[in-house]
């Protein structure tokens, strides 16, 4: 029993953190967000490092690592708020890896792992996917539901680009008939995707908590740092509680994916439900700690706040994942027949 990362995993985390810190200063993130652009150079670099295929088998051009490693990368990407098409690419990769046939995996995963094939995945409901990351730039769009999925070429899909609150990520609405069916376990793919998002939210929480704590140490009002007032200090403590909760939940869900898949469905929905709420509350709290300056465009906080809100909505709200927990946990099951 050990909740710590392995040495290799720690090395991945450290490398990711350092690299992302170097490539994505907050000024750079702002520049990209305001231009509604991604950093293609940095993205190429991440692809060369094998990030998109981190969980893909080596046979299909990936690194053959696990979901824990994906969780590590997502947390750091959230912490850095890096505007790159990682989530979309990884989502498509997860969909194909978990729900694709051998043939489908062989056909598409090598391109996804190397970054040469732009792909994405979205949650389909009532014939459309209303919020799909990077669909406009994707060559391949996977539409998933708990019951099944299908792969559309870009030309088969009707893609309507959307301007969302999250300027650090691109979204579109997708409709489209047909496509190639995915006959494997799409639910398993969705569980891994929402775990990845929960990890990203953990990084967002961690970063904005650090920003709030730093501000609370520095900012003086009435002759002392505002962090010396309980209203602010206890709010920061609450941020810690929720950030650590999101972290425990997403690490655990990642671990179940690799080591105890029967526990994964519930762990994944728990992680997404908790991290979605935590993401919004922690970032909104960070804004409150900052006061007026936190409400200005020129402060960087709002980019994180908006990412947190969009992530909370993406691939199922907190409420919908709680409902799934109620189902899966058996807690709210009907009484067994007497």
């Amino acid at each position: 029993m050990n909740f710590d990362f392995s040495d290799d995993q720690q090395a991945i985390k450290r490398t990711a953190k350092d690299l992302l810190a170097a490539r994505f200063t907050l000024d750079r993130v702002r520049e990209l967000a305001e231009g509604r652009r991604y950093d293609e150079t940095a993205w190429t670099e991440l692809c060369e490092l094998g990030w998109p295929g981190i969980f893909v088998s080596e046979d299909n051009g990936g690194q053959g690592l696990g979901i824990v490693e994906l969780v590590i990368l997502m947390e750091e990407l959230g912490y850095a708020l890096a505007p790159v098409p990682f989530l979309s690419t990884a989502s498509a990769g997860l969909a194909l890896e978990l729900a694709g046939s051998d043939e489908q995996r062989e056909r598409w995963l090598p391109g996804i792992s190397s970054g040469e094939l732009r792909a994405t995945a979205g949650l389909e409901s009532n014939g459309e996917a209303r919020l799909v990351p990077d669909a406009d730039a994707a060559e391949l769009i996977v539409l998933l539901s708990r019951d099944g999925g299908r792969v559309l070429e870009r030309s088969q899909a009707e893609v309507e680009p959307l301007e969302t609150i999250d300027a650090t990520r691109h979204f579109a609405r997708v409709r489209g008939e047909g496509g190639e069916p995915l006959e494997g376990d799409t639910s398993a793919a969705l569980d891994r995707i929402v775990t990845a998002i929960a990890a990203e939210l953990t990084g967002v929480c961690q970063r904005t908590m650090e920003m709030a704590v730093e501000y609370a140490r520095d900012r003086k009002q009435f002759g002392r740092p505002i962090g010396a007032y309980q209203a602010v200090a206890h709010r920061c403590a609450q941020m810690l509680l929720e950030t650590e909760g999101a972290r425990s939940a997403s690490y655990y869900a990642g671990w179940t994916a690799d080591a105890e898949p029967e526990s994964m469905p519930q762990a994944a929905s728990m992680a997404k439900a908790y991290a979605s709420d935590a993401g919004w509350r922690v970032t909104a709290s960070a804004l409150q700690v900052h006061g007026g300056i936190g409400f200005t465009w020129e402060h960087d906080l709002h980019f994180f706040l908006k990412r947190a809100k969009a992530d909370g909505i993406l691939f199922g709200s907190a409420g919908s994942h709680r409902e799934r927990v109620a189902e899966l946990s058996g807690l709210a099951a009907e009484p067994a027949p007497a």
Binding site: L131, I165, Q288, G291, G294, W297
Partner: protein
């Protein structure tokens, strides 16, 4: 206890409601400058109809309205979704301060153009380094050759780029205790020494501005309430701001609640018991905001002084608007992430409700100390 309107109050309300139906200027145009002109025209229309400076004494061009009438006025304006008139700060804060603390010359000079909207007023209290802590202001005014030379920076100034006059609080005595060394000025904005920079918000708009003041000049006769009395004068301003908030804020929330109900129907979620519980809770809190505001008004009428109750209403309103817009965005599901949605805008904008006009933390301090008599917080 009589929560119905008296015949004369009812007549007033009906008259106003009818006038608003005939004279409502429509929504603001999207362009900022056009929107401002639209509001300036609206101000003039209000003035011509005798509704500008509604609460001011008649001798200063106002209508000497009772508190009830003022509350009704606020309610009806909110109900009709009338735009806020261009010179709202002049009417709500500037005028009342001049009336309370100004001398005759000042009253003669400033009051009428506030009401007509010919001269727009803005407010220069907040500074980057002193948000809630007004007494720590750093902007300095030094007397030189019979006039004051002001240097410093102000923030959160609405309509600064349109304003002729700025209600400015600056430090005139560096050695005095924090509160004591402040003075309240009316500064002419039409001088190069005052630079205005728009301050963009997380919603993308720039409702507010920053002021950069570099040796701006203010003649001595523009001091209001005497040198060194700036703190007292400024507090009067803020108390007026909060006391007037209640009824119109509640009416505004009532409208928002109805819009939210409409949204829930459109989206087909009205039979979801979780949504129903949240909607009902909001309905209750909107009603309580209204009732608390009216109870506060009754108390003011009895005592004559706006008390700390305004702080409760402001705090309550901020939390309520945040909950209400959060539910709207939850109902919208994936569309809640869309940038161009009015609800998303309101949702983001609401994050400032617990900061602007007194942070919730400060308002709770006021309630604890001044309403409950708890020891001063340390």
């Amino acid at each position: 206890m009589d929560l119905t309107l008296s015949p004369s109050e009812e007549a007033f309300r009906d008259e106003l409601r009818a006038w608003l139906a005939d004279n409502h200027p429509g929504e603001d145009p999207p362009d900022d400058d056009a929107a401002f002109e639209h509001r300036r025209v609206w101000q003039k229309k209000l003035y011509d109809a005798g509704y500008a400076g509604f609460s001011w004494p008649k001798e200063y061009g106002g209508r000497g309205a009772t508190l009830i009438e003022q509350a009704l006025f606020g309610e009806e304006m909110a109900r009709a979704k009338a735009p806020s008139p261009a010179n709202v700060l002049g009417m709500v804060m500037g005028g009342p301060v001049v009336i309370a603390h100004g001398d005759d010359t000042q009253k003669e000079r400033w009051l009428k153009p506030i009401l007509t909207g010919d001269e727009i007023w803005c407010q220069g209290f907040s500074e980057p380094e002193s948000g809630s802590d007004l007494a720590s202001l750093k902007t300095r005014a030094v007397k030189s050759n019979g006039e004051w030379v002001v240097t410093g920076q102000k923030v959160w100034t609405t309509y600064a780029h349109k304003a002729k006059w700025c209600m400015l609080v600056a430090r005139t005595d560096q050695d005095a205790q924090k509160h004591a060394g402040l003075t309240y000025f009316i500064m002419d904005m039409e001088q190069e020494e005052v630079q205005v920079r728009p301050l963009r918000q997380i919603t993308g708009e720039a409702e507010f501005n920053e002021l950069f003041i570099e040796e701006a000049r203010i003649p001595d006769e523009n001091v209001v309430g005497g040198v060194g009395n700036g703190w007292t004068v400024a507090i009067t301003t803020l108390m007026h701001e909060r006391a007037g908030l209640g009824a119109s804020a509640a009416a505004g929330m009532r409208i928002a609640l109805n819009e939210l109900g409409e949204l829930a129907r459109e989206r087909g979620v009205t039979d979801d018991p979780v949504i129903r519980q949240r909607l009902a809770q909001l309905a209750i809190e909107v009603e309580l905001l209204r009732l608390n505001a009216w109870r506060g008004l009754t108390a003011i009428m009895k005592t004559g002084i706006p008390g700390p109750e305004g702080s409760v209403v402001k705090w309550q309103w901020g939390e309520l608007n945040q909950s209400l817009t959060e539910l709207a965005v939850d109902i919208l599901g994936e569309d809640g992430a869309l940038w161009d949605s009015p609800w998303t805008y309101r949702f983001l904008r609401s994050r400032a409700n617990s900061i602007e006009g007194g942070t919730t933390e400060i308002l709770k301090n006021i309630v604890a100390e001044r309403v409950l008599g708890l020891p001063k917080l340390r």
